[in-house]
Symmetry: D2
Subunit: 193 residues, 4 copies
């Protein structure tokens, strides 16, 4: 049975979607891994509450979940947070305990309070009893992986540029590398069970 | 002209509203201060985006804004975050720079990741160039003020109890004390201008 | 070959040592696991810099490291931080990449900014490319496990009481449960390699 | 009587000292303000505990304290933390309540977990009941002020370059601007008393 990695993200202007695709591409490159990419849609949010049982069922079946969101006003997008709040029943029943998790985010500045968003994605994962995979790579490589110096997850930079050019290829490679890392960890974690 | 303190909050089950009322009561007790209490409504959120120009105009006119939200899944409620995201135009135009700010939150556990939420409310305020007022009181008093040991803002505890009994009177007094403190600071800050 | 779990901690007045012993007891109860408990000593700190090559070598040999420190003035004790700063060479050479990690902390208040310390222990572990194990348990049990509502690691409460009585038996059981959890994860992670 | 702004910092390799001098230069440029710059010295640290009563007395006399430290291993330098831990008696007696505070930090990466350090400096200030001044400026200016996109305090970037060239002139201007801002706020806050 394949190891199942789900990339669950919200994207407003398409930049975070580019990161999500890069992360999923990395995860899919690992033998024995199947990957899904799921976008949080505004249509599923009513009065600030997100509801999509099919998506929750896909997450229930995951071995690892990689969370992605832009950093809006110093934290995760409200649309992502609406999804997060809707997982409280899973939290209560500990359905996601021991799944692997990590995260990525995109904002305009080099720092840009992106760490605040990663801290939130971590805190959400901890509430669920999940296990958090670090970014893993230092910036000391000649490919630009982790050029922004993020250790808790992957960071990409984009402001009002078209999603074709931002996040740039180095940031996308950072995301791809994180996807590989989580998928490898998920295979190992499943094998050890 | 009176010093204008606005308590802006979201409440799901009524517990955070009780805290908001206590905070506002404290602020209103300071001479020369007028206080408004504004609830974020789910009706103002469409596809995860909050819009209410009248509320934003009230906030534009404030000398101090006190932000309140439950802690849901380790962070601010999505409804609060939808409001926060909608302030990006104010952020760009620096409309709220130098206003005073602080925050309060409610969740079930004594710790309960409430500090994560206060860190977010702080980060939002920093994005706006605001000035953050600490909680001020230690737990070393015989009234139960700040019994949970929170320094960055006020914390209240409530789970599924009715809002009539939780947060308890000590937590409400903690909120009231914070409201007084912020109102006094706002009067002083305005007088010094 | 046994799975090697090291509990590395600083304790000022003995309360954090009690938590460390409980965590180690939990880890040692898992078949196939050997546990070491190492206290950071002030004698190893000169001008704010910690040095103890034997301890670093023990950590190099660990499959999982559990970090513990009191929360002093809203963060990890300086003595713990002196240890952390001394790991920069390990960081540069990625020696601890993929080891498991988690943390625990003790302070006076129920909340008491303990989450700030756990966020730091997490950030340190992320810098090293480690994998962070959540606390795992909700407070919904009749034994008092995780009574304070902490998800990122274990929290204990103690002020000026003797270390014989604080942290209390519920907090010590919280630590013991975390130790078991990390040891089980380390066995599984090693087996999957 | 002049408004008294103290810049209290630790610097290992001289980069943070350059930032401290820029911050102090900005503060000193405001009429009616006197500025002191105090370096935390390793000589004052014994077994991880800092002691310097003359420095504490200078801080007691400050209207505003600006805290600075490199980001080492994802948090404040141990030497800075040793100072912070030594302020617990001031904390207990609330000596620094209502003083203004802000912070700055330097590390190698553009993000580089510097926000973790600013969160700590904020948390320390909150413990003391202080009032935190935001960075204030967005990166949308043609001088490079706040080029890294930090809102909670000032960030500078430096790795192993000589302190003559890093942090660069834009980062130093960011620090200088923060110093001006805090000094102006301190004058206003004192006048309003």
């Amino acid at each position: 049975m394949k190891t199942n990695v789900v990339v669950l993200f919200f994207s407003g202007a398409g930049h975070t979607q580019k990161m999500a695709e890069a992360v999923a591409r990395g995860a899919a490159s690992i033998p024995g891994v199947q990957t899904s990419t799921i976008a949080i849609k505004g249509d599923d949010i009513t009065q600030g509450r997100w509801k999509n049982d099919a998506t929750l069922a896909q997450l229930d079946a995951a071995d690892a979940i990689i969370f992605g969101t832009p950093t809006y006003m110093g934290g995760p997008a409200a649309q992502f947070k609406a999804f997060a709040d809707s997982t409280s029943e899973r939290w209560f029943h500990r359905n996601w305990k021991n799944k692997l998790a990590t995260g990525f985010t995109v904002s305009a500045g080099p720092s840009g309070d992106k760490l605040s968003t990663l801290f939130y994605l971590f805190t959400l994962s901890m509430q669920h009893g999940m296990i958090w995979i670090s970014q893993g790579e230092t910036p000391f490589n000649d490919k630009g992986i982790n050029r922004l110096g993020s250790y808790s997850g992957a960071m990409g930079q984009a402001f009002t540029e078209p999603a074709e050019v931002a996040p740039n290829s180095q940031d996308l490679l950072t995301g791809e590398t994180l996807g590989q890392r989580v998928a490898e960890a998920a295979v190992r974690w499943k094998r050890g069970a």
